[in-house]
Symmetry: C2
């Protein structure tokens, strides 16, 4: 009897249905809670993390396509493939970040699930800033500043609004129409959103998120000189070698906490720093939350490069709902059959030779190229 | 208006239908021809190759899960994910190699296609040996020897039967029942198959393929001392650090041609050799076919570690047929919408706020862990 292996797919339509039932706020809250637990309990003997790796190119526009793998030892491997193409927003009407996430059974190689990665990436990047801000920012933070008002800024505002008593959101984007459009994109949050000058964002924010597509070598995007002394910054956009958002002078004064140090040293704000100038990692902060509180009054930075563990967390949250709600297309992806030693046996259901094999094509000895 | 991006899936059912129309022999012939052209025309400025990388583990049994990426610059990225778990054949009735292949549009990150990788891996591994054997083996080779009679041996026999006037196939496996079952698995080839002693395979083969799951450090699987002086060996099973199939003494006498040198040095028979003892690569042989012919009379080895370019070739062959035949499930995987700056806009079809957003969950400020 042939073995069956089922692959579950969550595409746009399935995610729309899932979010419609679970609720967007509930999903964000669950992702924040799950990510908080995961970084607190992280144990490298159970979870093997890898730095992002991929292909970079300059034509037709600068961009990257990268893979982000993580293994739960003995259980599963999650790999996100992610494209980063800022030119696509204007050029093709596509998001800068487009992505898909795959979940493999580690002991067979079977693809258990495939999910859109675009919505989950935005969710988990917001959730990561919420987890870090809970450890580093003042709990009474009321003013959120956003520099860069694209897709990732939406989930920064959403996630932080779930944990902080935000009263105002001050936004700036180098494209004024992107800043002006932001209020409409987050109208479901019921917050007061104002498009203001960069210096006003810097001056007034208690928590500030940078989520820009600044070009490699073109940063920083803030002056760093007008900030509140207790500001907490989530630096979200730094995710390529040479791409940084914060001024070095400010980083040296601040406590800089990377999400995943080996990657932050290559792609994050930590690129600019010597190892001795880098603060505790998100994992270290989460294990000892008193550590973060001792920095209150000093600027803090979450160096959020985005790492594979976050993708695993959000995928698990989504898949758990999908399974319990019966959402998702399922089908048999891998070609299998009753004989694991015969790669053609899936062509012979019920032991019959199919047309495929009976077609009488003569060997091409005479026709071979050489 | 929302942007649409379509993902095509070729699973077991779709591949069965495709092979039923195209024919298995035709598919093998096309894969051999396409791979031959691809290695002949290979230009590293147009195609960026990466070594296989992945996770290794020892429990519940030794295995690996690896990714194999290749980029056609400006066009596409193909990534195969592949599990290698020899224990699964007996334990779960699953093939040692289980796999899936994804094709991404490099300039957007969009997943254009997802295909089973199990059947394609077997096809292309056979095709690679055929391409190499055409360049290195005697064209009048009549006796094929197979050491290791699992899934990969089936396509070795199939592919080589398309290019050489084979009269006999002599097979050996350390599990006698695996060797005895082989004749049935290749009955569609109409060849005389005999399960014999290892030494008989070694003595009589003009072309010999090793495709074993020998454990790391447990090789070689041949003596290397009884072989014909003109033998050509396709060493297919060597694909892990420490896993090799051929004796060093024999390799030193032979002309050893790796498929992809950077990978063969880490995982292939070339692990055992000094750089100066390694012969021309498959690319070099293909560009100058006279080179291979000068070795006739001397043993030759194709060090086939299996590389990403082969996966790209077979995927393209399959996808071209699927597209022209209209085979494959298609759906929208990535969550998109009319506003590329809003990751939630796919939740608001026709400008309406969905239930997802209207659900009134209060912020969790008081409930937050810290």
């Amino acid at each position: 009897m042939a073995v069956m292996l089922s692959t579950r797919v969550l595409g746009e339509q399935e995610l729309r249905r899932l979010v419609g039932i679970v609720g967007l706020h509930a999903l964000m809250d669950e992702t924040i809670a799950a990510l908080g637990r995961t970084v607190t309990e992280f144990d490298p003997s159970h979870t093997e993390l890898r730095k992002r790796d991929g292909f970079q190119y300059q034509h037709p526009h600068p961009g990257v396509l990268e893979w982000m793998p993580v293994m739960k030892v003995g259980r599963q491997v999650v790999v996100k493939l992610v494209g980063y193409n800022p030119a696509n927003v204007e050029g093709l009407g596509l998001p800068t970040i487009l992505s898909s996430i795959s979940l493999y059974d580690v002991n067979t190689g079977h693809l258990r699930a495939l999910c859109d990665g675009t919505f989950p990436t935005a969710l988990r990047t917001g959730a990561a800033s919420a987890v870090a801000s809970r450890l580093l920012a003042r709990p009474d933070s009321e003013v959120l500043g956003l520099v860069g008002c694209g897709a990732q800024a939406v989930t920064q505002a959403h996630a932080l609004s779930r944990l902080f008593p935000l009263k105002r959101v001050l936004v700036y984007d180098r494209r004024p129409e992107t800043a002006r459009g932001f209020a409409r994109r987050v109208d479901f949050l019921g917050l007061e959103v104002e498009a203001v000058r960069l210096e006003d964002v810097e001056r007034e924010a208690d928590i500030l998120c940078t989520a820009t597509s600044v070009e490699v070598g073109a940063g920083p995007v803030l002056s760093g000189t007008r900030l509140k002394s207790h500001v907490h910054i989530n630096a979200v956009g730094s995710d390529l070698p040479g791409k940084t958002e914060l001024p070095l002078e400010f980083l040296r004064r601040a406590v800089v906490c990377p999400d995943y140090l080996p990657q932050a040293l290559v792609e994050g704000e930590c690129q600019q720093l010597q190892p001795g100038d880098i603060g505790p990692t998100l994992f270290e902060l989460a294990r000892d939350p008193t550590q973060g509180r001792q920095y209150h009054g000093r600027p803090t930075v979450f160096d959020s490069t985005g790492f594979a563990l976050e993708d695993q967390v959000v995928l698990e949250v989504l898949l758990e709902h999908a399974q319990s709600l019966g959402i998702g297309r399922t089908f048999q992806l891998e070609s299998l059959a009753d004989d694991p030693r015969d790669p053609y046996s899936f062509l012979r259901p019920e032991g019959l030779l199919p047309e495929a094999i009976r077609i009488d094509a003569p060997p091409q000895v005479s026709a071979c190229e050489s």
